[in-house]
Symmetry: C2
Subunit: 353 residues, 2 copies
Amino acid sequence: MGKRVTIKDVARETGVSRQTVSRVINAQPGVAEDTRARVAAAIKQLGYQPNPAARSLTQHRTNTIGLIIPYSPDYLFSDPHLMEFMCGVDELAIQRNHNLLLSTAQKKNPAGKLSAQKESFSAFERLALSGYADGVVVVETLASRAGTVLLRERGISWVTLGYGTENESSQVVHADDRGGARQATMHLLSLGHTRIGVISGRKQSLMAVEERLTGYRQALSDLNLTMDAELLVAGDWSPESGTQAAAHLMQLDVPPTAIFAFNDRMACGALQYLQANGWRVPQDISLVGFDDIPIAQMLHPQLTTVKQPALEMGRQAARLLFDLIENNTLLSTPVILPTELIVRGSTGKCRGS
Amino acid sequence: MGKRVTIKDVARETGVSRQTVSRVINAQPGVAEDTRARVAAAIKQLGYQPNPAARSLTQHRTNTIGLIIPYSPDYLFSDPHLMEFMCGVDELAIQRNHNLLLSTAQKKNPAGKLSAQKESFSAFERLALSGYADGVVVVETLASRAGTVLLRERGISWVTLGYGTENESSQVVHADDRGGARQATMHLLSLGHTRIGVISGRKQSLMAVEERLTGYRQALSDLNLTMDAELLVAGDWSPESGTQAAAHLMQLDVPPTAIFAFNDRMACGALQYLQANGWRVPQDISLVGFDDIPIAQMLHPQLTTVKQPALEMGRQAARLLFDLIENNTLLSTPVILPTELIVRGSTGKCRGS
DNA sequence: TACTGTTATGTGAACGTTCACGTAGCATGT
DNA sequence: ACATGCTACGTGAACGTTCACATAACAGTA
């Protein structure tokens, strides 16, 4: 392999100084047009490509942003939006001529003794300690708090995809979980359902759960209804937990006529239980999910659900990050993107009671 | 913000030279134990973190590997393994203390005039021209050939996740598509099916299609059967195309008693068509998919399918890449990972004819 | 004693850029 | 004539490491 082509080679070839070449590369003023053209030609001819490390060294920035996805492989499919987040963030990185550094959670070691907390944290640690990123987009998980503390210590700017912790002034982008849940509930109410079972996530897990519950309650209280505590069951986002929750709900003395699951995967599980036990959907019972993952359209019946604009969320988060890095603009209010109720075949008029 | 802590600060604090500190950082010999301890303490106390850019500059490597996923967002869900690939690659990157740089395809601009080829290519271009990666793992797509040419020009090592082009000596990792297809077909044959419809991908798209077809034919010829050309229909991997293909197959004069779709998404579409038109699965017709995406388990009946070890494929690809970068070991034979037939509820004994 | 080798440490240069200047050359205005 | 300003460059230093040496101290050997 020959030596790498440097700025000096281009300068020598063209008969100008390094600085002039540098000016051409960075499209700075103060270079005569013909000189600029000659330099550009030489760059092309020699196949010169600036060394990013050398640039970073003088400029004190790497033109790289990080994306922390603190999920381990086994948990990957729990959130079908991750790829969309990624693409949204990457799209903006492309626009701004930045690279995208990715950090996922370290896989649980076979012994299995690495806690979910530690696991998540490793994703932060690696990126923060590498010193490579000018800023970071963090996908929020149960355990991202410790991670953001580390980022603050290191003086690295970040934007959270999710709800941050309350006392973080940091910027956050999330979907309108409350509004989505409210819309879904209103849809069911308008079909005549009043006993609506809820399969939520465990409370302590994510702020989004709280928000969706609030939306649910709001819709009820609009009609002067209140929530029946026995209709609330917590799952762990997995299809299996949806199946269990549905079983529990349908075995109540007065079972619900509709079920609202807080993600599509649990809705899938619920659907399986219902169909396996002779309940017809939507004739006997209506079912609504949340997320609009691809599966939703392929179920039988197709699932009515609340869609989140994941791609756009990724874009917005990156946009905020760049504002923060480049203009030091700090936005104090969260960016909330609209959710959308997609009505499909799993919901219908209430006939019961 | 205070100045960044440099190696000089540590040296001054400890009363030794930069070089000694450097030796401690890199765990090189030739430092007295007590000195080493003192330096280590100072590093910790000052919170010193080596500047990666400066390191790269002298060492001529960045400790960063790239992952090129030349899919645009709208095509994302077509391959549910992408996240697993990512995690597998990242897992090894972590192990080897490398960063992972990600490059996805640029989104089609609204005008829509950016061809799929160009779109894919952009993912390569960005990473290759950035000069940041010591090597790259490429997820193969229709249009990755142009991309790998660019990589070669730039002298960047890469490993392909998929089948490479034939004249590439480059290293490849892929699943045993042929064996998987063969196993699936044998499974159907053993259930008594002899007219087995195939929903494949378009021929020119991926080598994997050819391989799966070969596996299918091999299984048939083991029983001295040959393939009936009218039973082969090409889809485009989408559920909709699966629906159409199933419609075509079932409207033949002698419809098949089993269908083998070359991915689960098309199998889903086929299932929808079958169920909507009164065919019972598996009583009237058996259905097999490929990939084992999460949906497969949630369908009704659950889908029999061929599973690919995506996570392991990602790991292997990264492993090969590191061998290439660090030891310059070039493996000339492809790494082929086993696929596994997962028998679920969508296949049963042939009753027909 | 002098030679040799080993261990622990230090020093200048180099990596490839950009930054902060400096310096011509020329036009303009008074 | 001179000062002033602008344009088009060039130069040394700096960024924070590591590399390739050099050096000093000390032990062992002949």
